[in-house]
Amino acid sequence: MIRTLIFLVLALTLSCVASLHLGLRVYAPETVWSALNGGASTEEIIIRTLRVPRTIIGALTGAALAISGLLMQSVTRNPLAEPGLLGINAGAAFAVTVGLTVFALSSPLAIGALAVIGALIATALVFGFGLTLGPSGNTGPILLIGVTIAALLASLTQVMLLLDETALETLLFWLSGGFADRPLIMIWGGAIALPVALIACASMASGIDALRLDDQSAQGIGVGVTRIRLAALTLAALLAAAAVAMAGPVVFLGLIAPHIARRISDGSRGFFHLALITMLCGAVLAVLADILARLIVAPGEAPISAVLALVGAPFLMYLLRSRRAVAL
């Protein structure tokens, strides 16, 4: 089992190294090395100020979204659950659009901050509606409420953008998600959120494992079902909010990384182990997709979500066919 982890860490290291070298311009290893050691030529500065940040942001965003998706799928027992279903992306996009069209806020830092605020308000709305339904064990409603609120916010955003074409042009880049040219300060969000999330996952692991049973059985062995579910969803929302601040709305990654992780990990291990593997899978997937995004429509850049689908979907289907079924 340690083997899977070592393999994934190796894969992550390799893809990060590749990400520093590859792109519209391919740099030689010695250039990259001297850039990392503080070289001052134009090329080296480009590597240090563009390639390095986007690689780090890609890995952190991938890791955060992957754990967020795993938490959501685990506690709702729905394989279609993903961070976007808590209204994260729609809320962030809505807040950023309002910020630009109403208050003319367009600096990268303001956009990042607005994204977090919007994501958290949308999630709070989803939870608020969910809680008015009482502490029921049934998780169907919370996902439906999430989809509904996400659709509502997306619709409002779309109408605002239809009315304001200049805003659309300014925001199109941010709205399609990606790891390039993002405000560096946001890295701290991810760098703090991830370790905290891992500690929280470790402490919740036994409870989440018990949730694999039906709610009654879980309650029967002394697990506070509602409490654990609320805690896990809150953690998922915070992670996804950190991700959206770093990279804008990135879809599909939070959905697919946990499914891939489940199929390459040993199902008998507990939730924490799965969380580690999921996190690494997400980071590798994000960095690889980012490399491809630079290459496939060069000299332009492809949207990261589209590339994630091109990489992730065939891989998921391959794993579905090649291995035994793994329960959620």
Binding site: N78, P79, L80, A81, L85, F129, T132, L133, G134, G140, P141, L143, L144, I145, V147, T148, I149, A151, L152, A154, S155, L156, Q158, V159, L162, L163, F252, L255, I256, H259, I296, V297, G300, A302, P303, S305, A306, V307, L308, A309, L310, G312, A313, P314, L316, M317, L320, R321, R324, A325
Partner: protein, 292 residues
């Protein structure tokens, strides 16, 4: 003059909105039932994305350098239907060849994966292609009924005309299939056969509706759930309520979209969620209060 406008522009538009909403809502209800997952609807499992891929490919293949179509635009719906059915067939083949073909989860995952692939292909084609084509595709992807014609009405109406008798016959299996597999089998239901039949019906209804009005979202997801909250038991009445909510939702969305920023017209698909979401949330909370 006004009479002509009402007859050739307004009336087909109204009827098409209602029929398309009905078809999308019923298709959503069938798929949610057959796969026993409230999120498993044609728009999430790739049927609409298949149609979108068909449309974008069509615009790609049959445009000349000056961005004019080289064939009649009336073939566009055919491309949409082919795309939707083609992608659905691909998902079905993948699911049937799977080591565990009877597990709805497998089908759902294949659907999500194929849907994502189709979406990615659409995005990339829109980026690579000229801007004009992207605009045309975007308009189609949002979905609207503003160019409605009586022939469009006939296509969707024809689909519903065939689907409704089948649904009346299928009401018992629709109830049984919500039980777990073993119990459903013991009620005498051929679970897999019924599931496949319901899914095919759902795909066809979606394909027909989407080919005429574009990828109007949210209706298939929310109308069946709202009907369940409003009506409760899964019976024929539930299907009727689902269809009515779906039709009403698209019709209201289109009417509001036409009026709200006059003379600018918004696409109806941009407003279905704006109008449907508050309705659904109200129903959800109200019903819960009644219960407690």
């Amino acid at each position: 003059m006004d009479g002509v406008i009402v007859w050739t522009l307004r009336l087909p538009r109204v009827v098409l909105a209602v029929l398309a909403g009905m078809a999308l809502a019923l298709a959503g209800a069938l798929m949610q039932r057959a796969l026993r997952n409230p999120l498993a609807v044609p728009s999430i499992l790739g049927v609409s994305d298949g149609a979108a891929l068909g449309v974008v490919t069509f615009l790609w293949l049959f445009s000349n350098e000056s961005n004019a179509l080289t064939v009649s635009v009336h073939w566009l719906p055919v491309a949409a239907i082919l795309g939707a059915c083609g992608l659905a067939a691909l998902i079905a083949i993948l699911a049937l060849q799977d080591p565990r073909p009877n597990d709805p989860l497998r089908l759902i995952l294949y659907g999500v994966a194929m849907s994502a692939l189709a979406k990615a292909a659409v995005t990339l084609m829109m980026i690579i292609g000229p801007v004009y084509r992207a605009g045309q595709a975007l308009r189609w992807l949002t979905g609207s009924v503003n160019a409605a014609h009586w022939s469009d009405v006939a296509v969707v109406g024809g689909g519903l005309f065939i689907a409704v008798p089948v649904l009346i016959m299928a009401r018992l299996p629709l109830n049984q299939i919500t039980l777990d597999a073993a119990s459903a089998q013991s009620t005498g239901l051929a679970v897999n056969r019924s599931r496949v039949a319901l899914l095919i019906l759902s795909v066809l209804l979606t394909a027909l509706a989407v080919s005429q009005v574009g990828a109007i979202g949210f209706v298939g997801l929310i109308a069946p759930q709202a009907a369940r909250l409003y009506y409760g038991q899964f019976t024929l009445g539930y299907l009727v309520v689902t269809a009515l909510i779906g039709g009403l939702l698209v019709l209201t969305a289109d009417t509001v979209a036409r009026m709200i920023l006059y003379p600018l017209e918004l696409p109806a698909g941009a407003l279905t969620a704006l109008l449907g979401a508050p309705l659904f949330l109200t129903l959800l909370t109200r019903r819960q209060n009644v219960q407690s």
